[in-house]
Amino acid sequence: MPPLVWKILKWSSDTRVFFFALIWLSFLVIAGTLAQADLGLYQAQQKYFSAWILWIWYIPLPGGSPVLTIVFVGLLVKLIFFTNWKPRFYGTIVVHFGALLLLFGSFLTAAFSSEGAMVIPEGGRTAFVRDYHAIELAITNRANPEFDETVTFAAGWLKYGEVIHHEQLPFDLEIIQYCANCRLERRSGPPPSSEWKGMARNFNLTEIPLHKDDSNNMAGLVFRIKTKANANNNQLDGIYAIFENMNIPQAFKLAGGDYLLEIRHELRQLPFEIELIDFVKEDHPGTQMARSYSSEVNLIDSDVHQRVLISMNHPLRHKGYTLYQSSFIQAGMGETTVLAVVENVGRLFPYISSLIMCIGLLLHLLIKMPVLFHNRSNAGGEQ
């Protein structure tokens, strides 16, 4: 048995470690809650609770992830190695098991969950969900008359110096600048060189602080295109810029392909489609304030159609996804529903673990009751 590993495991199961971890977690909750007013919910979550290191000034401190990991490991080690498995401790053992399950469920949620919005106009159908936060670079080849072929690169690729290379693309992309929130500024003079093309010839992307409402952030990307040798055309080589929600996205034709480049929130494809049949909105009488709204949809899964009503507090659950009625858009002709789509593998763990902990507490009480009554009757006899 490696003694050092044993020392570390034993240390993590020490009650004092758990005590100080709880104090630090309480600090994180208070600090994160106060910071949310300035940073917004998402950024406060990322900085205080999801991060491994919390930077305060230039001092690295443990974030929520390592502290919860230590608590989980300590509880697991204590339960397996340093617990007296006698019947009179079964109640506390069950409670500890419930707590372990709760922590494990939170890990599953943090690691596997995703959420986004599905926007469907009346009569329309889609299988795509747009993530609320994650950004991706999407390159779509529209040359084929029957389908579009898209290659997407997650945010980890969008860093200075990264070279994006894919066998299905006739060009490479070298990232020059990425900003999570940027501002467009028209150049006061000519571009630095003739290499700057398209919108980048006349506009600069300037990074600005993140807005606390993530939906107000506009991501931008500056990149150099280098066509591959077999494309036999290097006229497109140069530096380009794109940003979110460009009205006319950057596009060009090369090597028989018609490529569209977009930086956007991640689009994920669900294993089923949703078709909006009708959106109904009820207003409070005499006002234009919505009282309730609902979407009658067709759930299309492998050619099987099923009519479902999604309304406030009545979501649709299917194949691990939960679709909530989130909002709507009214503009001109027709209405558009906005559904919040959540995939959370760990969604049942809080309920199950709470139930187990309740059972553990009841069990502990039942086990202790004879002792309590015995002590009480002894105390009464002495009097």
Binding site: M1, P3, W6, L9, W11, D14, R16, V17, F20, S65, T69, V77, I80, F81, F104, A110, A111, F112, M118, T126, R130, P145, F147, E149, T150, T152, F153, A154, A155, G156, W157, H166, C182, R183, L184, R186, G198, M199, F203, I208, S215, N216, M218, N245, N247, I248, Q250, L267, Y293, M312, N313, P315, Y324, Q325, S326, S327, I329, Q330, A331, A340
Partner: protein, 201 residues
Amino acid sequence: MLPILSFRPARTSSRFYCTLLLISALLSAGPGCKDDRAIHVYRTAKSANLQKESGSAGLGWNMPAGWSVRDGDAMRLASFSAPGPAGEADVSIVRLAGDGGGLAANINRWRGQIQLAPLAENTILNQMQREQGKLGVFKWIQLTNPGLGSNAIYGAVLQSKRGVVFVKMNGSLETLRANQEYFLQLCRSITEKTTSQSSNP
């Protein structure tokens, strides 16, 4: 530094290794679950209803009668041609996040386009007129340079929830004057597309 208690060996080595394996699997699985260097390739039918943001980016407006839509560029939400007695005027709607660079900076940029010298912000504000529209009170300004022939710019600055909206009409002064009311009608009609949020998670 917390004192580390003296250790005692585990009761069975199999229990130790099972625990170590479980902890290692969990710790290694976590960081890899959300792969931020993922590459996906997929095909969608041409008729697939992908969620494309509308070209108006959440804004609506009424195009004045007699104007026509024209091809824009990556920056513009919309482009119009406004006919007039001295040729067509170019009208554009642009929205920029945040403060869009600031009011004075943008007005001076427009001034620079017709070779007018920049002005201080206070002076610009004094020259701007106020109008009421669907987005609230907005400011607009008439920029003319007699030394540059008859080229002029009418510009309006409106505040929306997701940034500043700039409406610019550029052309000969005679055409701009003929379209002034239409320009203001366009600005007054700009509105955010109605949304509402439920309390669902």
